[in-house]
């Protein structure tokens, strides 16, 4: 299984490659990718340098062009595809049909991976993207159980990549409008979820805090209580007279203990989430997964998830908590 790691900037790209990533994924510094955060991503010179660094070491660079351009912006997205091809990226990761179609027609030799944002959760959906746009890989949304992943591996016309670790989107990716409902800015159109410019922390003097997204209260915290980034899905709300994490707790996905099953199912690549995270995260998480994958491959019969690996991953998890998420039926 290939290990695909996040590169939010050049230092993170170097860190991921040095720690053993088989491939990194990156984005341009604009809204063409789903992590369009201030200060993140690559300009042309940075990407050129990153690709050279990776290629010198026999690794790959995938370029995420995985947002959905409206008519007025389609040309800019098509130009970004052209640019990715010119720079020598190994693949683009895209979701939108017109973007994929342009890539297929203009750059047939540039590999096309279907992004998680493409929302393909069934064999017919994967067939559609394969027959129509010649995708050579698909990243599955984080909504499928392990059993469903296994079945899709059998039936998919293309190799599959799944999320192994990182922040957990609990909604079907590519079809969540919670952020735009509150802020007007969405993952699909703007490459952001609950962007920081809409976030306002309120300190109440006695140690209590509150956090608002575009004025709407997402949560309140007692003194000393750890606070989460206020995406709508991870706030605490009142339902039926009780206040709780009505959609999801702040927690990270961690599938380490499922590594043997994912390998056996024939998953082609494991993806680490976190282009918005720093070098320390990328290094620790990449190194841990590299070792876990290598040891599993070398001696599958005697493999188990080591406590020190789990400890290293938990230290970098949101809220220091991890879950098997949708892979495990009990999560649903």
């Amino acid at each position: 299984m290939q290990l695909v790691c996040p590169a939010g900037n050049l230092p993170a790209l170097h860190a991921a490659i040095d720690a053993g990533a088989d491939a990194v994924y990156a984005g341009f510094r604009d809204q063409t990718n789903a992590r369009a955060f201030p200060g993140l991503n690559f300009d042309e010179a940075g990407l050129r340098a990153g690709i050279a660094y990776a290629h010198q070491r026999g690794r790959k660079v995938y370029l995420a062009l995985n947002t959905y351009p409206e008519t007025a912006r389609l040309r800019a997205w098509q130009a970004a595809v052209d640019h990715a091809a010119e720079l020598g990226c190994d693949a683009i990761i895209a979701a939108e049909m017109a973007v994929l179609d342009h890539a297929m027609r203009e750059h047939p030799n540039l590999a096309r991976h279907l992004s998680v944002q493409g929302s393909a959760t069934s064999a017919p959906a994967l067939r559609y993207m394969h027959e129509r746009f010649g995708i050579s890989r698909a990243v599955l949304p984080r909504v499928l159980s392990l059993q469903q992943v296994e079945r899709l591996c059998e039936r998919s016309p293309v190799p599959l990549e799944v999320f192994a670790f990182g922040s957990l989107c609990i909604m079907v990716e590519g079809r969540c409008q919670l952020s735009s409902y509150v802020t007007g800015a969405s993952p699909n159109r703007h490459g952001v979820c609950s962007p920081a410019r809409f976030v306002r922390w309120e300190e109440h003097g006695d140690g209590r805090r509150g956090v608002r997204l575009n004025g709407l209260l997402m949560d309140r915290y007692a003194p000393g209580e750890p606070a989460a980034y206020p995406t709508v899905c991870k706030g605490r709300f009142a339902v039926g007279g009780e206040t709780f994490h009505a959609l999801e707790e702040p927690t990270s996905l961690n599938t380490l203990e499922m590594l043997p099953q994912l390998a056996k199912a024939g998953v082609a690549a494991l993806k680490i989430e976190g282009r918005q995270r720093g070098v320390a995260y990328v290094t620790a998480v990449t190194r841990t997964w590299r070792e876990a994958i290598d040891r599993q491959r070398a001696d599958p019969a005697n493999w188990s998830a080591r406590p020190e690996w789990q400890k290293a991953l938990s230290a970098h998890a949101e809220g220091h908590q991890t879950t098997l998420g949708p892979y495990h039926r009990a999560w649903h």
């Binding site: 993207m129 079809r175 735009s180 409902y181 649903h332």
Partner: protein, 292 residues
């Protein structure tokens, strides 16, 4: 301009559902969308029942469209979509790529539902080649995006497909593998007890200071406000919108239909009855929140 009854998003008892559509047969709507789009476990009406209902409404003079699930994961869900297509006698509303591909493989036309991602004129062109006959823009696309898309599409010399906008109802905002209703009642999804049947208009969710915010509806999350594009009637006509979609709600649906029926036959737009749909105006979807 036609009126359509969108698919019933909530889970109602069998008798209530059948009674609702018995009444709807006499309402001035031309198109009725039928079928379960949210949760495959909801089986007060099975595929066969929906098809029987479709036959009845067709006999009553309605155009019937069968709506597919928005999220297809399990084999049983895939089979449910397949069974709907197997009938062959009705237009299909494709709410994800699964249904698009199955229609395409069988050469069947389809309506692109609001949970299918279609953001620009080129994608519309691609999907028309696959069998798209009618387009329901996704909730986050407003007047500007729809206008740009249709203009660019027409510019290429294509005849426009029918366009249907969500004119009334709570906006579907997201879907998950998790059931949020089961979570709210602290029961497992696999043993949920169908608690969503107790909430015929979804389960209200408010912020910690009591601002009504969302509706939980099984694996779907909706906006709290019942949005109303009635006051935009003049613009909708100019845009070439052919159908106004009205989402079923448990009470007062007949009055809603009559309101829109009167509105479409009047020269002036009707007074506002529901909430502003912020998305339509390029703002956050939830009404009253400031632009970024």
């Amino acid at each position: 301009m036609k009126l359509s009854l969108g698919p019933l998003q909530y889970f109602w008892p069998r008798e209530r559902t059948l009674a609702f559509y018995r009444e709807a047969a006499d309402w001035p709507v031309e198109v009725v969308y039928l079928g379960e789009t949210v949760c495959s476990k909801r089986r007060e009406l099975g595929t066969r029942d929906w098809i029987a209902l479709a036959e009845t409404l067709k006999a009553a003079g309605k155009e019937v469209v069968l709506s597919s699930l928005a999220l297809v994961e399990a084999e049983s869900e895939l089979n449910a979509v397949q069974r709907m297509l197997d009938h062959g006698g009705f237009l299909i509303e494709a709410n994800d790529l699964t249904a698009v591909q199955l229609c395409r493989e069988r050469g069947m036309p389809f309506v692109a539902g609001p949970s299918l991602n279609l953001y620009n004129h080129r994608t519309l062109e691609l999907l028309v080649a696959d069998g798209l006959r009618r387009w329901v823009p996704g909730v986050e696309q407003g007047l500007q995006q729809v206008d740009d898309l249709l203009a660019a599409y027409a510019c290429q010399g294509h005849a426009l497909p029918e366009v249907e906008v969500i004119a009334w109802g709570r906006l579907p905002l997201s879907y998950s593998a998790r059931c949020f209703t089961a979570r709210a009642f602290d029961v497992a999804k696999d043993a949920c007890g169908f608690r969503c049947i107790e909430h015929p208009d979804g389960l209200p969710l408010a912020t910690r200071e009591g601002t009504p915010f969302l509706r939980i509806n099984g694996i779907q999350v909706q906006g709290e406000e019942i949005t109303d594009l009635g006051p935009e009637m003049t613009v909708l006509r100019a845009l070439g919108v052919g159908l106004l979609r009205l989402y079923p709600q448990s009470e007062g649906m007949r009055e809603v239909v009559e309101h829109f029926d009167l509105a479409r036959r009047s020269p002036l737009p009707p007074p506002r009855r529901g909430a502003v749909n912020g998305y339509w105006h390029g703002l956050p979807g939830k009404p009253g929140l400031p632009a970024g």
